[in-house]
Amino acid sequence: MDKIVFTKPKLLNDTPMHYCPGCTHGIVHRLIAEALEELGDTDHVIGIAPVGCAVFAYNYFTCDMFQAAHGRAPSVATGVKRANPDSTVFVYQGDGDLASIGMAEIVHAATRGENMTVIFINNGIYGMTGGQMAPTTLPGQKTTTSQGGRNPLEHGNPIKICEMLSTLTGPAYIARTSVHDVKAVRNTREAIKKGFRMQREKKGFSLIEILSTCPTNFHMSPVAALEYVKTVGCEAYPLGVYKDVENGF
């Protein structure tokens, strides 16, 4: 008897993604769709796309979507959620979007404990605008606006979002994962699923920071970019659960 072992999640359509070869945005889109589907939570999903390479995320998801101004997705999601408290809302943001221009919005959505799930793509660089320095760019990392490598004395230091947000009382779940290999991808799916489940149980704000690649602007092959995230990325941004009210911290 034939058995279907693999299908595309219903929440994704067949549109070819515009992401560069080896970019991990596409993997994370899929994980979001799979997580919601596994939870059976696909009817009232509303996604908020950022400004950044994922600006066109609504082209790939089949659920209702908003496209938000740069950094403002958590506020847009707050409005959506207040208007429709029973919907499932996900916010998708890059590191320029969330940790630079949108820092106020994410901190306050977190501290209010808005019942939403934020997927935070940390690729350490501004992808869409061509590889400029991001707030998460590591010391020594070369970007088009830190051409000799990021120098903390000149450019300041990287921001660690999970560590920072977990100091707040408001959030329910904050975790950092990665997508550099199969195991990491599985862990990320579980973390996303947990965030959505907690949202459905009205436990409050969840954020999953996902260490990601931008092979194009890292000037690396897709494989080398994954290796870079696995080694350098995971060392600078330790993976783990930073806050989990279900486990008492």
Binding site: I46, M65, R72, S75, T78, G79, A104
Partner: protein
């Protein structure tokens, strides 16, 4: 039943009556009574109030709630409304209905907290980036503030466009008897099939303003422009006061129009045929009415405003095709000062009508 209400409270309660169930604000004088009122009143009606971390955030919450189908509102005053401009541009681009209140205070910069009309250009000519317009209502009494706020929600939904209530510190703070329009049943409002509220696997709804193909964006711009043209036809509102035979027409809106009514009466008593023309919508601006007046008895038009020469530009545009070439002047107080009726009457009587507000 009439109640004694502050302008700000009347705006807030009229919004509730119109079915507004999502309010997002940030404190700034002189509009604080609106968020304060909403903070307890929304609870009573099962709605939502959020004190946002900034005006930037508040307007984006409006974008979310409005885009998800709710009647949503935010209020602020000049510096805060500047911060909302990015969001207003997105809202206009994505065609999300909502109501934005600006109880203007004097500027530029932090300026002062006293009444002003110095955000006229910002409200009527775009304000944020890109090509867009809002329907702009300028109430001149507490009753009218309530009525126009109520109406604003219906027109916002009709056009899927932001609507602005442009008041000032004086209107917001003063108390007058006013009747709040009858409350709508929120559940009986027309359904918004375009709203993004979860599609049950059905057709996807996307609230966005990005169109990377120039032809697609041009078509979108054309569609928006058609809406603005329709507003000009359907929504232009104004009031004439003793303009029938008026040789001197004062043009003023909002609180200044009330001052001008008193000035008109004074001038009439001293034998000067004065009248007042009051635009109630500032966009669309009633240019045609000004043109009509200039075809009649009006020889002089004076823009009376709490800004350094903003309203006068639209008065002049209204007279662009005028064959009679009437005289145009301005009488303004700014910085938070408000003119008295006597000051306006004096200026007209002096006969020295100038085009600069500086004496």
């Amino acid at each position: 039943m009439k109640q004694l209400l502050k302008g700000n409270e009347a705006v807030a309660e009229a919004a509730i009556a119109a079915g507004c169930r999502c309010f997002f604000g940030y404190p700034i004088t002189p509009q604080n009574e609106i968020p304060e009122y909403m903070s307890w009143r929304m609870k009573e009606v099962g709605g939502h109030f959020v004190q946002a971390e900034s005006e930037v955030s508040a307007i984006n919450m409006v974008y979310g709630a409005g885009g998800a189908g709710a009647r949503a509102m935010t209020s602020s005053s000049s510096p805060g409304v500047s911060l909302k401009q990015e969001g207003i541009s997105y809202i206009a681009g994505a065609e999300v209905p909502c109501v934005i209140v600006n109880m203007m205070r004097a500027g530029p910069g932090l300026g002062g907290i006293q009444p002003s009309q110095s955000d006229y250009f910002q409200a009527t000519k775009g304000g944020g980036h890109g090509d867009y317009r809002m329907l702009v209502y300028a109430p001149s009494s507490v009753q009218e503030a309530a009525d126009l706020t109520y109406k604003a929600f219906f027109r916002a939904d009709y056009y899927r466009n932001p609507v602005m209530i442009l008041g000032d510190g004086m209107l917001g703070q003063m108390m007058e008897p006013a009747q709040i329009p009858e409350a709508v049943d929120v559940n009986s409002l027309p359904k918004k099939s375009w709203a993004a509220k979860g599609n049950n696997g059905g057709k996807q709804r996307v609230i966005n303003s990005i169109f990377m193909n120039p032809d697609t964006l041009e078509a979108h711009n054309a569609h928006l422009t058609e809406k603005y043209e329709e507003m000009k036809k359907l929504d232009t509102m104004f009031e004439h006061y003793r303009t029938d035979d008026a040789e001197v027409v004062l043009v003023a809106y909002g609180i200044v129009a009330r001052i001008c009514k008193a000035a008109v009466d004074m001038l009439r008593e001293s034998g000067i045929k004065a009248g007042l023309f009051r635009p109630i919508t500032l966009f669309p601006f009633p240019y045609g009415e000004i043109a009509k007046l200039s075809d009649g008895a009006a020889k002089t038009f004076v823009s009376v405003e709490l800004s350094c020469g903003q309203l006068i530009e639209d008065v002049k545009l209204g007279l662009f095709d005028s064959k009679n070439r009437p005289e145009v002047g301005i009488f303004a107080r700014v910085g938070g000062n408000v003119m008295k009726p006597e000051d306006v009457a004096e200026y007209i009587k002096s006969g020295r009508i100038t085009q600069s507000w500086i004496k």
